[in-house]
């Protein structure tokens, strides 16, 4: 590694940590689901079971919400990366379907509220 290699490595790490700091910052707002499709952004509470249909250029992406867990159940895209992303349940997590232009994320609340407040050894 040469001097400027270290500079670009440091810059990459700085951007990783910096953007994580901004994106995962805790919020006072209640936990909610943000569904973004070409029509706009739609907000849903995380604690109510429902099936959300987001309409994109390829068709309908079906999103399931059950017991605080969210996942893409079906999508008309070819590669199905959104289905493979699995279940999200915590603030800051997301699932998206690029070909159908649908983006789902959980926002609000402090990230990972179920975790311990402190640890001692």
């Amino acid at each position: 590694m040469k001097p400027l290699d270290w500079l670009f490595l440091a810059l990459s790490l700085f951007l990783t940590v910096g953007t994580a700091w901004v994106v995962l910052a805790p919020s006072d707002a209640p936990l909610r689901i943000e569904v973004q499709d070409p029509e706009g952004t739609f907000l849903y509470p995380l604690n109510e079971n429902r099936i959300i249909e987001a309409v994109g250029p390829l068709g309908v992406t079906e999103i399931h919400v059950e017991d605080g867990h969210v996942w893409v159940h079906d999508s008309p895209c070819t590669n199905k990366v959104c289905l493979a992303m699995g279940v999200i349940h915590d603030s800051g997590q997301f699932v998206s379907c690029l070909p159908n232009r649908v983006f789902v994320r959980i926002s609000g609340g402090a990230a990972n509220q179920e975790g311990p407040d402190a640890g001692v050894w």
Binding site: L4, F8, S12, L15, A20, Q36, R105
Partner: protein
Amino acid sequence: MRESGKPVRTDLVAFFGALSLFFATLEYLFPKPIPFFRLGLSNLPLLVSLGFFSFREQLLLLLLKVVGTGIVNGTLASHVFLFSSGASLASFIVMYGLFRLIPARYLSLTGISLAGALASNAVQILLAITLVYGPASGVVAPWYFGLGTFTGLAMGWGATQFQKHSKWLERLRRGS
């Protein structure tokens, strides 16, 4: 096509373009941790050829890579192609510029690869926020930059090793 009286080596550029397509297809073997993220394997031929292709040859190789992968992946007529071409162009400009402007004693292919990954990911995030999804998609940024750091290092290391040890590349360099 000529540059400073030197003919463009279309057969060699086509060969490197084919390598790019091969690597782009290989990427399908690896699971994608986040949507539209790429390992950047198809950038290896671009990185390795920085030393002996002219600007026009590099640009032609980039065009082959972008359009070729668009055809192979079936995304040529979709907005996904916008991501791919925007990211590839940004990455190429940064990598080529750094290679030409910074002496090799200060910057190796690893740093160039890291900078290329950084430019590519930054452009994809900006395109996602401004044109495709909106501000909420900024949540992918830490994943992109984090994974991009890892893949940028890996690709840079791979390209460096190939440049050091490949006799085939050495013969090409001497012939150019």
